[in-house]
């Protein structure tokens, strides 16, 4: 198992490297840039725009920008004699904006040295700080959605299979199709209208907690009502997928010889299904865990917007719109790592559930 995990982690390195090059290239190839968004005002002169572009380094060629992101720029332009003024430069000019003065020495250390860079927006703060202050909200929503999806979807799937062709099976089949077919933004708005203040008034219409003047949100257990609607919107898709997968899996297992043998031994139906059938039927579900992680992230983008949920999904959208390259790259890399971990956990779970599988 350890060897397997280490090998998979090593395999992930070139994968992440490839993702970073691809995403960076696509991002820079997209028309538009942060300078226009930052400076669209009649009071900003072309010279100021040029200076800002030089300062952000967004006019540099792709390989320079990528190297700066990967390895930093403290070796590209630096102060060799300690007088505080940059005097030596590799790959980039000393005077990038052409004003006759050298630019300040580079300070970026690059992602390989743990520096994801500073946002072009957000007060130029480190992107990791910006992302981490949102990560808790996204994790809260993601974990809740997965838990709801799994804890309801799996039993529903099992019960539907056990009662195959019955009213419950038919009902869950219809509901699954509906949940799968509803776009997230539509379902979110409808739920808001039904349960929010303009409808039944049973649940809050957004945000992570009520009005708090100072001291931050209270603990989760004191604000569960804020989690209900956004969790349900994301979990609806999981419910549909897990219940249908589970139903099919249980029905498939039901045709296996060992189930027939168990029945022949005279075991009760409950014992047959829950002692012998369920563990084997869970195996395909384990393979869904990896994709579920990406499902949580993509679902969060829309759901967080509708429910004013202060998570990473909203940050990703706004950063893309603003062309905040460092933030976009950091989110993409974190999402990639999370996805790889999700798939790795899937494989490990697969081996734990199915004794026939050996990880090598």
């Amino acid at each position: 198992m350890t060897t397997f995990v280490i090998r998979r982690i090593l395999q992930a390195i070139p994968t992440l490297f490839g993702i970073s090059i691809l995403v960076y290239a696509i991002m820079l190839a997209t028309p538009g840039g942060p300078v226009a968004a930052l400076t669209f005002s009649p009071t900003v002169t072309p010279q100021e725009r040029a200076a800002l572009a030089a300062q952000l380094g967004v006019n540099d060629p792709f390989h320079i920008q990528y190297l700066r992101w990967l390895l930093g720029d403290d070796w590209m332009r630096f102060d060799s004699d300690g007088d505080g003024v940059a005097d030596t430069a590799y790959l980039i000019p000393l005077d990038a904006d052409g004003d006759g003065e050298p630019e300040p020495p580079g300070t970026r250390r690059g992602i390989l040295r743990g520096d994801f860079g500073s946002s072009f927006f957000h007060g130029k703060r480190h992107v990791i700080d910006v992302i981490f202050e949102r990560l808790g909200a996204t994790l809260e929503l993601g974990v809740a959605s997965l838990v709801v999806g799994l804890t309801i979807g799996i039993p529903v799937g099992v019960l539907a299979a056990v009662n195959r062709g019955g009213p419950f099976d038919n009902f869950t089949r219809i509901v699954s199709v509906i949940f799968n077919a509803f776009p997230v933004f539509w379902l979110g708005l409808i739920l808001l209208l039904i349960f929010g203040g303009t409808g039944l008034g049973l649940l809050p219409m957004g945000n992570r907690c009520g009005l708090v003047l100072v001291g931050g949100c209270p603990p989760l257990y004191e604000r569960l009502e804020y989690l209900v609607l956004p969790t349900f919107v994301i979990a609806a898709g999981f419910l549909a997928v897990y219940s249908r997968f589970m139903r099919a899996s249980v029905l498939d297992v039901g045709t296996q010889d060992y189930i027939r043998t168990a029945r022949a031994k005279g075991l009760s139906g409950r014992m047959v299904w829950f002692r012998h059938g369920l563990r084997n039927a869970l195996i395909p579900i384990a393979t869904l865990l990896g994709p579920s992680v990406t499902g949580v992230l993509s679902g969060a983008v829309v759901t967080e917007n509708i429910f004013s949920w202060p998570g990473v999904g909203r940050l990703a959208v706004s950063s893309l719109q603003q062309r905040d390259y460092p933030t976009v790259m950091a989110i993409v890399m974190l999402a990639s790592i999370t996805t790889i971990i999700g798939y790795l956990l899937s494989d490990i779970l697969y081996a734990l559930i199915d004794p026939r599988i050996r990880l090598r």
């Binding site: 997209t30 028309p31 538009g32 840039g33 942060p34 226009a36 968004a37 400076t39 669209f40 005002s41 009649p42 009071t43 900003v44 002169t45 072309p46 100021e48 725009r49 040029a50 200076a51 800002l52 946002s119 927006f121 957000h122 007060g123 130029k124 703060r125 910006v130 202050e133 949102r134 708005l189 808001l192 209208l193 929010g196 203040g197 303009t198 008034g201 809050p204 219409m205 957004g206 945000n207 992570r208 009005l211 708090v212 003047l213 100072v214 001291g215 931050g216 949100c217 917007n305 509708i306 429910f307 004013s308 202060p310 998570g311 909203r314 940050l315 706004s318 719109q321 603003q322 062309r323």
Partner: protein, 573 residues
Amino acid sequence: MKTALRLTLVLFVLCLSSLSAMAQEGGIVVRGNAGADPTAFDPLLTNETVTSDIQALIFPDLLSVDPATASIVNGPGPNALASGWELSEDGLTYTFSLRDDLYWTDGEQIDADDVMFVWDFIQSGAVPTHLSFVADEIANVEKIDNFTIAVSFDEVDCDAILSIGALEPYPSHIAPEDLTTMPDQEFNQNLYVSSGPYTFGEVRPAESISLLANPDYVDAELGYVNNDAFVLLNVPDLTVMVERFLAGELSIISGPQEARRAEIYAAEDEGRVQIYTYPGNSWDYLAFNLADPSNPQNAVDEDGNAIDQGMHPVFGSTEVGRDVRRALNMALDVDDIIERATFGEGTRMASHLVPASWAFDPTIEPVPSDPAAAAQMLTDAGWVNSDPDDPSSVRVCQGCATAEDGTEMRFVLNTNEENARRTAIITIAQESWDKIGVKAEIQTLEWGSYLEKLFTQTLDAYVIGWRNGYPDRPDATQLFTPASDVVGGCSNCMSYNNPEFTAINEQARTLPGCSIDERKALYAEAQRIIQADTPYIFMFVRNGFYAAGSEVNGFDPFPSQLLWNVDTWSISQ
């Protein structure tokens, strides 16, 4: 005696408690914010819309603005440091007297040093700032004593007072010695020193910003801030924001989608909502490129000499093709566009000045809609239908002044795809022009891409908008003169250049004595010139729209001034 004393004491306590009950009515004002999350707060480093709203509530101004007239007052005003000014005889130096009764929340007195710091910061160039334009307009700022400053100019500038207004006091005593580190200071994320109706409470990123009533606010109209707090609640989805307002989760909203305003009007009819609308200061226009888009050039070279920018094959240049542009204007029914694109929530414009501007001349009528006359004007200008029996057949140049014979009247009309209103405008324009044989291909681009493309000056025609400042500055130097026609970073991206307009605009800005009536006459002339030249089809200003729940007491806005009296507001339970 003891009984009398006790009675007196009881009466005294009762009086005190009734006084305190009369004092603050309380409540939390919750404003919906659909804008981008604020990313920084230091007033010298950012002027994002949301941040500016917050800064206005917790920092003092230098000058006082009368919300009823939208003009700067030469005298004391609430939360303004200057108590008045004197102008030198040559009109070049303003000497301001500063109040000595304003303090920062940490107890430091606000004085001339806090204004001088802003000027020094701008001049230092240590950190890029949105205030850098001030250094181009003001010649010098001098501290006379702790409560007097003098601001001087190289030339008479009738809008000078607006530039001076940008020098808002800053708590200089907390600024770092190394100004380049200001973006990294805690103050950029937590405005822990302030002076205004509110103090900074807490930022919950992407969720809310709370401001707490400042018990030491000396300029409160009632003697105290009448509510407990002001919260800016982030609601990124505009549809949801209206729903949450109607549900009572938000006390006030501004500028909701035009499509949703009918529901809010209905709620007003039911007595659940208070509404204030006005012709706003954000306006949409359709611009024509008046230079050769295949060879974009700056208007002038480094020595100030004019550069030949060529002309657009359809729209011509500033001097050539006026009739064509006016015909394209007349082919559109802008009132219909306002109805269809904004659900009637717009006010027609006739020129580049918004109706709220003091220089706006209401006698100048908008260009009338007359498609038949427009078609005839195009024919007269040498653009004739390719099929004389079909008025919608594409027009081709036959003796036109801007292109070779046989050139078809086709061009691309752009706007940004996220904006439904502008997308509607270009769609309606395309339909209208198609009927008279003008073929516009519409193209929408993502905002960032759109701006970059716009700056390259390679677009044919485009729809976009401006938002004027407050108080309004009618000067059009940045929008319609060659100085701002620079490829790669323009605000005069369509290369409009009429020396007569430039001269009149300049004359109005620098008029000796700055007579309002004379300046107004000059700006009226400028409006007539630009309407005749038609570099833009001036569309409409979006109507400003403020709405408050019926529980909000004290809601009494003026144009662009929703919160001028927010210290008197309270929220009924």
